[in-house]
Symmetry: C2
Subunit: 442 residues, 2 copies
């Protein structure tokens, strides 16, 4: 039989145990934070009818979609995010679920991106959304969730940048450019990359903005300062058009709300340069950056979208939510050196070398597990040295060494594998002693 | 804009919050049990080159595969199980990981099955496997893992049925039918469905077995009794051919091992009728049944496969593992009435009805969360009655009701929503009082 080369597809990859264990921890923390706010889990299929997904994320999403005909002749596609399936889900099940409906969902999504930019074609998102309310309480809560999430993850250098679409819309309203909002947004989204002059040129070209109009738009996008400074400067820039009034009131309410929830101003920043490329956002938008790794981009983004479900239902279903970019965050955690090399390994290793005692080893391992320890028993009666080398490589914390002599005497050697120290303990005290050593952080 | 009908594909479905929360709990328990034995997590892509998957699971798998050409012209397919990708993964990474390698992996798999049989085309498996050892210690441990998993899940009526391929092979060796093993297995796998006479006919037809040979095969498959009775009866049936000797020694070792690990004979049964359709199994095979729901079939199955990775590497990589059929188990848990209707909901509900106090509500909710409680704050200042109806429907346990009067007085009403009783508590004692009530299982 000829050998098939074992390989993954271009733009796809395996997760090995150490990074995967770290990812599991991140998902567990996120799940626990989302649940603590009353978000509940749902799952939607990976495959949807193409008509559900196509045209919902813009031209680029359509081009990158994994779309094909299934064996039954259906036009199907793999989801490219979790938000469009949520809109379909909400439209379909809102009668059963009622509103407000707060859900979280985690899973891979697929985009046939150009892999030369170091991007993957399969990546995991962990979203949370509140559907069915326009109340700004949901906007506040969304930012507090993100804050509590990064605190719970022990990531100390994050900052949430938020903005409100109505500020720019208010300015455009005053300038008479409101109808060109989409192309103005596209231009502004490039500001960090191409700089003010290039954006000014693009605004002129794509949105027919005069120099004065472009200057006003850039004055808004380049406004910097503390939250209170920005709040104070904004009215003069955006004016008093209906959108401007709504936007100013909203950011004030949101800022007061997150402060009331105990979020420090050093963690959340009113940043009017945040645009977000997606046109479906209608109010609050936000991105989250790690200050030690600005180049990695936003690791958690989202905003309010008050019309998305209208593709699938006539019922009004406003929503707001955020999406944790799990793979991007994992890359950051890796780069920051926060991955625990031993995170994937059982705490306790038991070498098996008194050959005829296998049933005793099995019994011992199970006794320790019942006491709450994680225990790996080596499956073959190899030489002790080879087994201890295996444990060193795997990174167990403790080894419980029991040879013929110890089985006779009813004792075990507990080895601390990091310090290479050992102590002899009677079987009766083994569980307690191991638990104490692990507690001490061996 | 015309409305797109919100619907899922035939054979696919959404998971709503209550069953999804129950599924999350099952996955969490399984993860924790697998980890307690030293299994470590990995992830492989959903999409693989078709050549990796095609022809590996048999004709039916090939026909049911979601296979298509991607935008780059590659012949790709969605995985139909987690075992074939593991074989590819092990062949690719064994140099980095070393052996023995014990991994778990959870995720959806896809098969374009006939949905008329009540089957779904997307379902979740949660596998664990030990790669790189032929030691029967791994076989013992595999059964102990399954045992500990169902105990941890609080499912009291399970029974693991195990067998060893070498018993049948030993008999066939004696009968001179060893080369027809695959077709004999296919026939035997149908025994529970079609009965002894039909199997006898099929053995005659497909495997050219004489009446005496078919009788001997059926005498083995129909052997019943306690583990010790079956052990005692087997030698006379399977004879003393090399396979028979190996098989008899193996089941004896496995049975002694699981007993040593504290598994009662009522939980694990030597059942020589267990065949498992897949031809790649080479030794131990097992299935797990719920005695209250035999019709649902096996909820956790697996076995030893000593040659699977040889498709992708010349290195010998024997393996053994099991696969928890998560969706089938969830259907069983649902049917047994074991799903907690309130499992998806935050413990504490805070209605928001003193309109100008929103920042106080936000602060209160966050204070409770910091104490470890899960708290849902209603986002709109609606009438209290409507909000309490919402909480009733969602199934929160406690409501913390604070109106203008209470905000002034620094107190809150804690309502036990099941018993509809209430008590007034000072803010200072709120966290403690809620925690105590939840502990008492309101």
């Amino acid at each position: 039989m000829s050998i098939i080369q074992p390989r993954t597809l271009k733009g796809f990859r395996d997760y090995l145990p150490v990074p995967m264990a770290a990812r599991e921890r991140v998902l567990e923390v996120a799940r626990s934070v989302y649940r603590s706010f009353g978000f509940v889990p749902i799952e939607t299929p990976v495959l949807e009818y193409s008509e559900i997904l196509f045209g919902k994320g813009g031209e680029e999403s359509d081009r990158q979609m994994y779309r094909f005909e299934d064996n039954g002749g259906r036009d199907v596609a793999m989801r490219f995010d979790l938000t469009v399936p949520l809109a379909r889900f909400a439209a379909q099940h809102v009668g059963t679920l009622g509103t407000p409906f707060k859900r979280y969902q985690v899973g891979p999504v697929w985009r046939g991106e150009n892999t030369q930019r170091g991007r993957y074609r399969e990546f995991v998102q962990f979203d949370f959304d509140t559907i069915g309310t326009e109340s700004l309480v949901a906007d506040v809560e969304t930012l507090v969730v993100v804050h509590d999430l990064f605190v719970a993850l022990d990531i100390s250098d994050f900052k949430i940048h938020f903005n409100n679409r109505d500020l720019l819309n208010g300015l455009l309203e005053r300038l008479g450019l409101l109808e060109r909002g989409a192309s103005v947004l596209r231009a502004l989204d490039k500001l960090p990359k191409i700089g003010a002059d290039a954006v000014r040129a693009e605004l002129h070209e794509s949105s027919a903005a005069t120099s004065e109009q472009a200057d006003a738009i850039l004055a808004l996008a380049e406004l910097r300062g503390t939250n209170d400074e920005v709040l104070a400067a904004l009215p003069a820039i955006v004016g008093e058009s209906p959108h401007a009034v709504t936007g100013l009131a909203a950011i004030k309410t949101v800022l007061e709300g997150v402060r009331a929830a105990g979020v420090a101003d050093s963690r959340v920043r009113l940043d009017v340069s945040i645009a977000r490329g997606l046109t479906y956002y209608t109010g609050t938008v936000f991105e989250t950056f790690l200050e030690d790794l600005p180049s990695i981009g936003s690791v958690c983004s989202g905003g309010r979208y008050d019309d998305l479900a209208s593709l699938y239902t006539k019922q009004r279903l406003p929503g707001i939510g955020g999406s944790l970019g799990v793979d991007r965050l994992m890359a950051a955690i890796d780069e920051l050196g926060l991955i625990d090399d031993r995170g994937a390994t059982a705490d306790v290793f038991i070498p098996y070398f008194a050959k005829d005692r296998i049933n005793d080893y099995l019994s011992l391992a199970e006794r320790l597990r019942k006491a709450g320890l994680s225990v790996e028993l080596y499956p073959e009666p190899r030489k002790l040295g080879a087994q201890m080398k295996y444990a060193d490589r795997r990174g167990h914390r403790l080894a419980i060494v029991v040879g013929d002599r110890e089985w006779e005497a009813g004792t075990a050697q507990i080895k601390d594998l990091a310090s290479a120290t050992a102590q002899e303990v009677a079987f009766a005290n083994l569980v307690e002693r191991c638990a104490a050593l692990l507690e001490d952080g061996v």
